[in-house]
């Protein structure tokens, strides 16, 4: 378990975060560049000191401003994998992996044995005598992980572990990394700006927006209750802000949201609300729909984005009011003859809208 509660100013930017990482699991910290995620990792690693707060793991207080305690990076039970791995260029793979054990002054025989075991485990045996510049990106990542894990850290910190890789390598390395992380007993804190990585790796996901954690929970929590537009956007769902204008006897209510009015389930009270509409709940048609859907919006197709890139589903961005993103299959899109500029009807049921307090 890793508990973080810190505040740190960097110029005009302030990081203020509190987070408890899942013991023995993977917590993903996701946010755009400049949101403070790398800063948070550096605080945990001890490469940066917080202005206030405390970071601890069972049995070791990394830093506590209240008592003035602060361990040097080399005294903290962390393993840190930097964004571009920072493998020592003058040392062979074997020496890179053995670096931590030698720094700890372990007997030579023990270093040898543990390095051999680790090289074996990460499939690095044949590369043991190579220098980092002779390795591919994926191999470098494995060396960096092996190097950090050979000293049995209580906490593993990964800073954008996949961003230094090209797209093709990334896909295969991602699967491998997930397999490695699943087999670990230590607590992992994984930082990324890619929502897809957050969803793929995180047992717990924390969203960092301009220095604050705006939402923290499981993948399902996020899908059910996205708390900010950023979260909704990275999940690919529609999040609208609006205000109740009318409540009906049939259990529905009208909400004025971003230039239009939508029919939604009555939340039971007036005031500002946020609406979640899942893109796959939106039906597209070129003629006015005949069904029972209460919400029918007309607008032009703005953009068609395959999802995942090159995939079977398409994400249709619509210039309706409010603006929406719908998701349909490639076949359905072809049947409708969708193209940018084409006028369409987007319809969805009132009950398909999730209403959250604003």
């Amino acid at each position: 378990m890793l508990r973080i509660q810190v505040r740190r100013r960097l110029g005009s930017f302030t990081l203020e975060a509190s987070l408890t990482a899942t013991p023995g699991g993977v917590t993903v910290l996701v946010g755009e560049s400049g949101s403070g995620k790398s800063t948070l990792l550096r605080l945990v690693a001890g490469l940066l000191d917080p202005d206030e707060g405390r970071i601890d793991v069972p049995g070791q207080v990394f830093v506590d401003r209240a008592t003035g305690e602060s361990l040097l990076p080399e005294d903290r039970a962390v393993g840190y994998v930097a964004q571009d791995y920072a493998l020592f260029p003058h040392l062979a793979v074997r020496e890179n992996v053995g670096f931590g054990l030698r720094a700890l002054r372990r007997p030579r025989a023990e270093v040898r044995e543990r390095v051999d075991l680790t090289l074996e485990r990460f499939g690095l045996r044949p590369l043991a005598e190579r220098r980092p510049h002779e390795l591919s990106g994926g191999q470098q990542q494995r060396v960096a992980l092996a190097r950090a894990l050979v000293i049995d850290p209580a906490v593993l910190l990964l800073d954008e572990p996949l961003s230094a890789l090209d797209l093709v390598t990334r896909r295969s390395v991602r699967a491998e990394l997930r397999r490695i992380l699943e087999g670990l007993s230590c607590t992992t804190l994984f930082v990324t700006h890619q929502p897809t990585e957050a969803l793929a790796f995180g047992q717990q996901i924390a969203v960092l927006e301009s220095g604050r954690i705006t939402q923290c929970g499981t993948r399902d929590d996020f899908l059910r209750h996205p708390r900010s537009r950023y979260v909704a956007e990275f999940l690919g769902i529609n999040l609208l802000e609006g205000e109740i204008v009318e409540r009906h006897a049939d259990g529905t209510a009208n909400v004025a949201a971003e230039g239009g009015v939508l029919s939604v389930p009555d939340p039971g009270q007036d005031g500002p609300v946020r609406l979640v509409v899942h893109p796959h709940d939106i039906v597209l048609s070129t003629e006015p729909p005949a069904g029972s859907a209460r919400n029918v919006l007309r607008g032009a197709v703005e953009e068609i984005v395959p999802e995942p890139p090159g995939g079977e589903r398409l994400r249709i961005l619509l210039a309706t009011r409010p603006r929406l993103a719908a998701q349909i299959t490639r076949d359905a899109s072809e049947a409708l003859g969708l193209a940018p500029g084409r006028q369409v009807f987007a319809s969805f049921k009132a009950t398909g809208v999730l209403v959250l307090p604003g």
Binding site: S33, G34, S38, T39, A45, G46, L47, L72, P73, E74, D75, R76, V78, G79, Y80, A82, Q83, D84, Y85, A86, L87, F88, P89, H90, F99, G100, R102, A103, L104, R131, P132, H133, L135, G137, Q140, R147, A148, I151, D159, S163, A164, L165
Partner: protein
């Protein structure tokens, strides 16, 4: 884009630049050529064995080696502190270290005399301990170290500061203490700079004249190093002066050439390959 820029560049620029370089090279190379022309291989070899030449050569090698060793031992920690720490008065220390580079050597020698001479500030105390510096071989070493130290510290400091902090941070999170990080990461990665600094320092110590003659005098076999011997023999025995000069020229040339050749070959370490992936963002 590049082609367009090339086409529009005036023709006379390369011509002018090459001419300027030619003039400069002529001024630099002509004295050396003249020196070499004066030295016939036969005379060179016969004079090489002459006691005065051997004596000066031995003394020069001994003192410049000792001076370089002292500068390396004291200079590495100094360069490390200057490269990694910020503190009050750092500027002042930097200027102090660089000063001998621009100071007239005679002034440096005179200042050394004031400090370590028999009546000097520290000299009195050294005499109590039985150590005499002026007009001794040890004094030569001190004068050379004094003058050559900045030539070591400047490049080494730059080398240490140039080691990517990510490697040091990675090493720190791998439980390496500062001493361990220095020995296993910083020093090996900055080794080309240390080698360069050592060569520069040795070359400077070998060529030291002004501070040596002022502080240590000109006693054959004791303080008369090769540059001093050249100056003395110049007036009496021109052939010996030529031999000594050619020797000095060859040694300096060798040191500087070795320095140029070294950095590229270290570790087969190619700078581009040392940084995989893109530059990190915060």
């Amino acid at each position: 884009m590049t082609a367009a820029v090339r086409r529009s560049a005036p023709r006379w620029i390369p011509v002018a630049a090459i001419t300027a370089m030619g003039v400069l090279l002529l001024v630099l190379a002509l004295p050396f050529a003249a020196l070499m022309a004066r030295a016939s291989p036969g005379a060179l070899l016969s004079r090489l064995a002459e006691p005065s030449v051997v004596q000066a050569l031995r003394l020069s090698l001994l003192t410049s080696f000792a001076a370089t060793a002292i500068v390396v031992v004291l200079g590495i920690p100094t360069a490390y502190v200057l490269a990694t720490r910020d503190f009050r008065g750092k500027r002042l220390i930097e200027v102090l270290i660089d000063l001998p580079m621009v100071l007239p050597p005679t002034v440096a020698g005179f200042a050394l005399l004031m400090a370590f001479g028999r009546m000097g500030l520290a000299g009195q105390w050294l005499r109590v301990l039985g150590v005499t510096l002026p007009f001794t071989t040890l004094g030569v070493v001190l004068a050379q170290a004094f003058m050559a130290a900045p030539f070591f510290i400047a490049p080494v400091r730059t080398g240490f500061a140039g080691v990517d902090p990510r490697y040091l941070e990675a090493a720190a999170t791998l439980r390496a203490s500062e001493v361990h990080r220095f020995r296993r990461i910083m020093l090996p990665l900055a080794l080309p700079s240390v080698v360069a600094g050592t060569s520069m320092c040795a070359a400077r110590a070998l060529g030291e004249f002004g501070a040596t003659i002022t502080f240590a005098g000109n006693l054959p076999g004791v303080t008369q190093t090769m540059p001093l011997a050249v100056y003395v023999t110049l007036q009496s025995d021109l052939d010996t002066a030529v031999v000594l000069s050619v020797l000095l020229l060859a040694m300096s040339f060798g040191l500087l050439l070795g320095l140029r050749a070294a950095p590229g070959g270290w570790w087969g370490l190619r700078p581009r390959a040392a940084h995989p992936g893109s530059s990190p963002t915060r």
